[in-house]
């Protein structure tokens, strides 16, 4: 799976959740800020546990954060 096929709403969700910074989100889900930057830019596809942790942090289902946009989607 190409990483660019996985779109995400993290940036929008961060701003909707009190303008949360990338560092704050990184600390909440237990990764580095660089990883949040890479996920936001669709350069890195997170593991399923990390994807669930991000969704749980924002209080939305996982498909509310990540959308698969591959050919067979």
């Amino acid at each position: 799976m190409s990483q660019n096929e996985l779109k995400n709403q993290i940036r929008r969700l961060r701003f909707e959740n009190g303008e949360m910074t990338q560092q704050q989100l990184a600390d909440l889900v237990g990764v580095t800020r660089q990883t949040i930057i890479a996920i936001e830019a669709s350069k890195y596809a997170p593991s399923l546990p990390l994807a669930f942790r991000i969704a749980k942090t924002f209080g939305v289902p996982i498909e509310g954060v990540f959308q698969y946009e591959g050919e067979d989607s």
Binding site: A26, G30, T32, I37, P46
Partner: protein, 144 residues
Amino acid sequence: MNRAQKIAWSLVITISTGLIAGCLAFAVLYFKVGMPRALAGFALIGIAGLGGLSSLIFRKDKGKVAFDERDEVIKRKAALASFASALLFVGLACMIPFFVLGPNAAISVTWLPNIWIGAFLTSFFVHSVTILVQYGWRNKNESK
């Protein structure tokens, strides 16, 4: 830029500097004193050894989390690439003399440590470049 990137950059710089300086010194000595004394010029490749100090210079990253799953993936890919490159180097170093000199030729055993050093440098260089490519040469798209 995290610690792994800083170390990778310093290794790329020191290894490149060592190789360029060594080759230049060899070339200059080759025309001045000829072989085999010109081989002493390659001693400047030792500059690459300074890269080993980078892990002492660059301290651990600050912050709650210093290493995560993405770092792990990058580390694994870099290790795989460095192993493959070292294997390729040793393979070529063994096969090229065979095809160039022929099956009945003999070479000095002094080449063996050189092959080891070459494989070592290749491995570290490819490891560092892979890390830099995986992370991105610099941090783009950074925002608050």
